[in-house]
Symmetry: C2
Subunit: 447 residues, 2 copies
């Protein structure tokens, strides 16, 4: 395990130097033939997707994989071996066996795709073992959990990059480029959300969930029974936070959250399996729709919708609005832009008509090289960004402060709802450094 650094020392050296590197990408452009050695903790559906993607990368080695599910573990071992790589060590000896993976000397970083409650202990263990860590998307259980991530990263100098794929969506990166160029003027307001009918994820097969069920229904569903808040804020919030320079010249100051009644999961059970099914007796705590409104230090507002129980088409509900125009996207329905002086007066235009001029360099390169991977390519880009940073030993473009600030929305929203939508303050995980920190995401076409 790395020696614990004095925090002030780290801030001066590690973090500050990291930012400096990220701001000066040209010095990093030399060809780098090093391999990146990655471990995978959690190789269920999501983790196997990550693994398959990384196995398409010639510079990635996979010395170790971990899962408590033997079938999943063997599949992962097999996938690595069949890719022509050395057979990886499998860790599947109980829930704590990941600790044996993270301390290996032949790993540079780990991907973590496990149930939400494991993300922080595994990330912390990885960082304290001197590894880069890339946990999949989640919402925190508590504010303290977020501080554990911050402390581990600051004390070890190891980055923690939540794998928020939507930060890498094509439209979102183009919108970010537009924001930075001032196309929308000064940004005043944003909207976003996770509006995804998860009923067939929360119940599988039929209306079953819990240990005997399948996939995420084994662990995800109980959060909808126990909790009422925005359980999954970052698919919406991540890209928006980038547009708002969150933690870098700006920060989220306070929020209020309000939850609708909880009806749709119960109705789904009754309609699918009848009133007499034992699950029809469950009292669901999670409101069908949870609305969170955030106020930022610079005065912008963010409205986040969490909407995972109801029948509906998918949407991340993106809006970025400023003093000169706005962008609005509802996936598969509309992706529209209005810019004063460019668009016909008060008429929407198509975002796609703006892409030739506003394509983000990362996406321009990606299209040129061939878009691949899940989530329309964003899944590849997020994984590749992590790999590039591990390889170069530089800070990740989504860092531990982003991770903490985005996932803390979950416990803060629970607290607000539990107190009748009372406003709740955000912790400042940067301890004031948001005032001087510079943006780190999407600065180049490299990662």
């Amino acid at each position: 395990m790395q020696e614990k650094l004095n925090r002030r020392q780290f801030v001066k050296s590690g973090a500050a130097a990291g930012v400096a590197l990220a701001m000066a990408p040209n010095i990093l452009r030399g060809k780098d033939d090093r391999k990146v050695r990655l471990g995978f903790i959690g190789v269920g559906s999501q983790g196997t997707g990550l693994l398959r993607m990384c196995l398409t990368m010639d510079d990635v080695e996979v010395p170790a994989v971990c899962d408590i599910d033997q079938e999943a573990l063997l599949r992962a071992v097999d996938l690595v071996e069949k890719s022509g790589r050395k057979k990886p060590t499998g860790y599947g000896n109980g829930e704590e066996d990941y600790k044996n993976l993270v301390v290996r000397d032949d790993l540079d970083g780990v991907f973590i795709a496990t149930p939400w409650l494991w993300h922080t202990p595994m990330s912390v263990a990885a960082m304290r073992a001197g590894k880069y860590c890339a946990p999949e998307v989640w919402g925190a259980s508590s504010i303290e959990e977020c501080w554990e991530l911050i402390d581990a990263s600051e004390e070890t100098g190891m980055p923690c990059m939540m794998l928020e794929n939507h930060c890498y969506d094509r439209s979102n990166m183009a919108a970010l480029k537009m924001v930075r160029a001032g196309l929308f003027g000064e940004i005043t307001h944003t909207e976003c959300g996770y509006r995804h009918d998860l009923r067939t994820y929360k119940f599988k097969p039929g209306v079953e969930f819990g240990p005997g069920a399948q996939g995420e229904a084994r662990w995800r569903t109980k959060h909808s029974i126990k909790r009422n808040g925005d359980l999954y804020p970052t698919h919406g919030l991540g890209p928006i936070a980038n547009c708002l320079d969150d933690n870098r010249g700006n920060r989220m100051v306070s929020l209020t959250s309000t939850a609708s009644k909880a009806r749709s999961l119960h109705e789904h059970i009754v309609r699918t399996a009848g009133e007499d099914h034992p699950n029809a007796k469950i009292k669901w705590n999670l409101g069908d729709i949870v609305i969170t409104v955030i106020k930022c230090q610079r005065g912008e507002t963010i409205t986040i919708f969490h909407d995972t129980n109801s029948p509906r088409p998918y949407s991340n509900n993106y809006v970025v609005q400023g003093t000169k125009g706005l962008w609005m996207e509802h996936r598969d329905l509309t992706n529209a832009i209005y810019i004063e002086g460019k668009s016909p007066a008060h008429k929407w235009e198509k975002m796609e008509d703006y892409l030739p001029e506003w394509e983000h360099p990362l996406w321009a390169k990606f299209i040129n090289e061939g878009v691949r991977g899940g989530h329309g390519g964003a899944g590849f880009l997020k994984s590749r960004a992590f790999v590039e940073c591990v390889k170069r030993k530089i800070p990740t473009p989504i860092d531990v402060y982003d991770t903490a600030a985005w996932i803390v929305v979950t416990p803060l929203s629970e607290q607000s709802i539990a107190t009748g939508s009372a406003p709740v303050e955000f912790p400042d995980f940067t301890r004031g450094r948001w005032m001087t920190n510079k943006p780190i995401f999407g600065l180049t076409g490299e990662y």
Copy 2:
């Protein structure tokens, strides 16, 4: 002036009987040849529009008009006379001359289209003079103002119908029919707003406003300097409140409001007239976007956006969502619906494809007879509904409780913003009768 009724007596007789009548429209269907005698207070742009529309109705007489602007007053007198009606009496002798209009014996009701601060005193004066009153759309200045309307209506038995045209929009009435038929299942969440670039209304000509300016810029703009809240909630909220049985089995219980920074009006002035224009020194209080989240007694949520300073296409941002599907409209961009079991899985359909089956009977009749009037026909329908009710001496389909509950959002949102988005309780203007009152809006094809 009518004798003051004992409130308990009124509740038993007037209001209750009125609801009973509204619930049994068949008894009212006999041909009625009576004329309706209406006064018009305020005949600027909006009031003249109302007047022109009513002059197309053969059963409307206009014995009196009122405006402090002599030019507007003479134009109105002239319009009435040229329509073949008797020349009306003009009231233009100062700001209090409307009081001489409302006490005339030859009037059944008055339309009020004056600056917002006059709506309540004029409505109260009209009701206390035994007249039906129909104030144009506004937001209240205080909670007390709303109680003045309630007291005047309850004590006189006279209805007060805010002329919320969007309640009569074609899509909104179809959506209401769908809600009542259970097409969306149990309603859990709604969204709405007033997203209208008003910069050319707030400034006219150029960047001018105040007494020497033109149109609404004479009086509306100062609200954006003095106030920070949802100044104009009802274009969004009215139709949504109808879908939620507000005041009739349900009520709005509490809200939080959050305002973005105020930038766009200042930028507009600087871009249009330069930094040296005296209006460039004004400090605007109204946030460019104000978000209000309401929780209802039955557990539904309502999100309202107020967005009148920024360059953008118009939208009322309607969403009505339930346990079986949802409807979403952004005018000129998308008007979409998704119904589980009817729509292809997780695919939006067009609202217009649902209209043949779900057209509201009022709109079916309107289309059959020929759509006319402003705001796509809704302006005609709202005025006609008032005329029909005055003629029949029955309660109006938007009543004083609707009016008060919708406009009170303005001072409540100001209070929430002034206290850091703290939750604020709604007054119960029905004094508990929301528990037994029945819906009154859009029950028939008549009005």
